[in-house]
């Protein structure tokens, strides 16, 4: 069976806001799906299979596609559900890539979404902590220590941010700058959630301190939103569009969690800012893509950064500069829309976080930038190769995809 070249020929996004009371989950997804069909110029009959995912506990619906997949045209079609927490959207996009690359399908729609206003995402995330807490009680761990992990994902992020700042020379001012950069980019993106044109680092520095060093302005909102992408073979893509975005490679890597769990899984010996698994995934993705020097060859990056420090930290872990150098890269202006290696032109996860969709929206933005469909936020330089990233779990699962305007050789 021939291995297929894979390309993105369509992207669709729903409106992203904090509470979509006007639509249910299936209808929200339909917005992204119908926009995606339109973008690609395809119809449901052209799709061979669907890959889908979200974070189920956030809506309180188990396997929502059982009831909702008809809304994305999956009636009578093969469907595969992939869910991996924060990386879900990225994992779903990877599923789309593999389904086409395997030769089992020609054209696949990948759909990722989250409607957090139907559920409670902190409660959802706390079930991660509660299951672990139960185990740790059994192991005799002090409940006071556990309390530090409360509050959903912020817990781990705080330790990670301080650790990153210590090892990199990143200051709180850099965090403020990242937030301002992203929210200004978001203002140019019609699908973003928090648009704050003209926001300055000084404004961010005035927001409430949640837990040092993280301020309210450094953190993502909770968003309702959906993203759909159509993957097809290189051959079909060239017939459909002059400018497909080829998926050169995908890779993921799962590390042990930097918190101890049941039956000895996880460890306290891993620094949550080390992100060895991100480096492994990135190296693998570049190798498969035939990229030898990512710093020179990558034109654009969409790291998954719901917290400001993560944009800088993952820029480094995606091997785009030396460790500890990202703050000075930020200062140089290189990450701006008109910079040498623009970062999060979409506004990033810090501006819009429909969790199950977020990691796919990174891939989608890379594809849109390569296809030149980004309107006001289109970066100045020509984008030949772009890298999309996602993290999930207790920041121990990483997914990376490399896209390009030319196919993989």
């Amino acid at each position: 069976m021939a291995k297929n070249e894979v390309a993105v020929v369509g992207v669709g996004l729903s409106k992203h806001v904090s509470k979509r009371r006007d639509v249910n989950i299936a209808e929200l997804v339909w917005e992204a799906v119908s926009a995606c069909y339109e973008d690609a110029g395809l119809k449901p009959k052209d799709i061979d299979a669907f890959v889908t995912g979200n974070m189920p506990a956030f809506e309180g619906v188990n396997l929502p596609e059982e009831w909702g997949a008809g809304h994305w045209g999956a009636y009578g079609k093969p469907l595969l559900r992939i869910t991996t927490g924060g990386t879900t959207g990225g994992s779903v996009a990877h599923g789309g890539y593999y389904a086409v690359a395997s030769g089992l399908c020609d054209t696949v729609m990948a759909v990722a979404f989250e409607k957090q206003s139907d559920g409670n995402s902190t409660a959802g995330l706390n079930t991660v902590a509660i299951a672990d807490a139960a185990a740790q009680f059994a192991l005799g761990v002090d409940p006071g220590f556990l309390a530090a992990f409360g509050g959903g994902a912020v817990g781990v992020a705080v330790y990670q941010a301080s650790s990153y700042m210590k090892s990199s020379g990143c200051t709180t001012h850099h965090l403020d700058k990242v937030a301002a950069l992203c929210r200004n980019n978001a203002a140019l993106n019609p699908y973003s959630h928090l648009k704050q044109p003209g926001l300055t680092p000084e404004d961010v520095a005035k927001t409430v301190l949640m837990q040092y060093p993280i301020r309210f302005g450094h953190v993502c909102p909770a968003t309702d939103g959906a993203c759909a992408m159509i993957f097809t073979t290189g051959e079909k893509a060239r017939k459909l569009t002059d400018k497909p975005a080829y998926v050169l490679s995908v890779a993921s890597c799962s590390d042990e969690a930097a918190m101890v769990g049941i039956a000895g899984s996880g460890t306290t010996n891993v620094d949550p800012c080390a992100q060895e698994s991100c480096k492994i995934a990135a190296a693998k993705a570049y190798e498969l893509a035939g990229i030898k020097d990512p710093r020179r060859e990558i034109d654009l990056a969409e790291p998954y950064a719901p917290f400001a420090h993560q944009l800088l930290m993952f820029y480094e872990r995606l091997l785009l500069c030396d460790e500890g150098e990202a703050p000075s890269v930020l200062d140089s202006g290189s990450m701006n829309l008109d910079g040498e290696l623009p970062v999060c032109p979409s506004g990033g996860v810090i501006s819009t976080n429909a969790i199950g969709a977020s990691a796919m929206e990174r891939v989608a933005e890379c594809a849109l930038q390569i296809m030149g469909k980004c309107g006001e936020r289109q970066v100045k330089k020509e984008v030949h190769k772009a890298v999309a990233h996602g993290w999930g779990g207790a920041v121990n699962l990483n997914v990376v995809a490399v896209l390009s305007d030319t196919p993989r050789r």
Binding site: M55, Y75, L79, R81, G103, L104, D132, G266, K284
Partner: protein, 380 residues
């Protein structure tokens, strides 16, 4: 597909009502056993796919704590939130892409820690059906059974007969949770009525357990002892239960036809030597006979009466005892694949069927078998 990807090793836990082990320990046990059976080291795995469900595991990101026990540490790992047979499909896709050579698939769930049929209700339309409280996996299956009986003229005795056959086969399966060598239709019909026509012994046995399967391509496959080749796969999805005809398994029929065309099967009843069907309820096995083309539509009951699907028949179905003897929700389809592989390799002990060269394995997800996947496997 001709000898591209093979199942080279597998392992299952015994199926228990309340296992004295955490799910992590069960996964570790099967992952290690499968690696040992394959003669592989963990380092040699390229990718790991897990099958589990956040609602059943009672935690978000249910794969997160399976990284170490499944052998996925610092490896390319992902999770399929469906029946484990779909995780096998995803591993197959990853290998066929050329990016990976050897894949580990693990599936697990522990019925002793989730609230029985409650997670199933979370699959219902949240705006109407779920809140009205009438439908659940069992009552919906009863509606399906009645619709099927009406359409195909099947009787309650025939449905009970399927359950009895599988419980009898299970008596020769040392891993089975529920078995009864002396079961007959009368005994099944005397069990507690739940939702007519479904009685207690017509439901599958929810339980604790885990399965692991290792897939490989190229050299790792050809040099393996008795590789079981994946000859075809097909999968499909049907409408929500109130929006389709419950009397037929349309998406299974669709999945089977995709699978058969890949595997070069024109006459399933004569070309397939044995089938393992994931029957969450006994009547679904009869529906599957029709959807899989073992008999014409509407003749599932008669086909069963002919004895063809008994362990000594021309096309034994669920020689293992099927899901009637053990139903680990996210691993049940993997258990079907493992049994089919064991039968091909001649490893099925007392329940071994003679001369199995080509076998079919089926998995399902969703209420009333909304989504179905079919594999055709073959030996040398």
């Amino acid at each position: 597909m001709d000898k591209e990807v093979a199942i080279i090793a597998y392992a299952q836990t015994p199926y228990e009502a309340d296992a004295n082990a955490s799910r992590e320990m069960q996964v570790l046990q099967v992952a290690k056993a499968a690696l040992e059976a394959a003669g592989l080291k963990r380092d040699e795995l390229d990718t790991v796919i897990t099958a589990n469900n956040d609602y059943l595991d009672g935690r978000t990101i249910s794969n997160m704590r399976l990284v170490e026990p499944s052998g996925a540490w610092r490896k390319n790992e992902s999770k399929v939130e469906m029946d484990g047979a779909y995780a096998v499909l995803y591993a197959l896709m990853r290998i066929l892409s050329g990016d990976h050579g050897i894949a580990m698939v693990v599936g697990e769930s522990q019925a002793s820690v989730y609230a029985g049929y409650v997670p199933g209700t979370m699959m219902l339309d949240p705006t109407f059906d779920r809140q009205r409280g009438l439908l659940n996996e069992v009552s919906a299956a009863a509606l399906q059974a009645r619709a099927y009986m009406h359409a195909s003229g099947v009787t309650e005795e025939q449905i009970a007969g399927v359950a009895a056959k599988n419980l009898g086969n299970a008596a020769k399966n040392p891993l089975a949770l529920r078995s009864d060598a002396g079961a007959d239709a009368a005994k099944v019909l005397a069990s507690r009525m739940l939702y007519s026509p479904i009685r207690e012994l017509m439901t599958s046995a929810l339980c604790d357990g885990a399965c692991a399967i290792i897939l490989a391509s190229g050299k790792a496959a050809t040099k393996a002892e008795k590789p079981v080749w994946i000859k075809g796969v097909g999968f499909s999805h049907d409408s929500y239960l109130t929006e389709r005809s419950l009397s037929r398994l349309t998406s299974l029929k669709d999945a089977a036809s995709r699978c058969y065309s890949m595997a070069g099967i024109e006459n399933p009843a004569s070309q397939i030597d044995l089938a393992e069907v994931h029957e969450c309820f006994a009547h679904e096995e009869l529906m599957a006979y029709e959807a899989l083309g073992f008999c014409p539509e509407g003749e599932g009951g008669a086909f069963f009466d002919s004895g063809a699907t008994r362990i000594d028949g021309s096309l034994p179905v669920n020689a293992s005892g099927g899901a009637m003897c053990a139903n680990v929700v996210c691993a049940a389809g993997m258990a079907r694949i493992i049994e089919a592989s064991m039968q091909i390799r001649g490893e099925a002990g007392e329940r071994q069927v003679e001369g199995v060269k080509t076998a079919l394995a089926h998995g399902q997800t969703g209420i009333c078998a909304q989504e179905n996947i079919v594999f055709v496997l073959g030996g040398e």
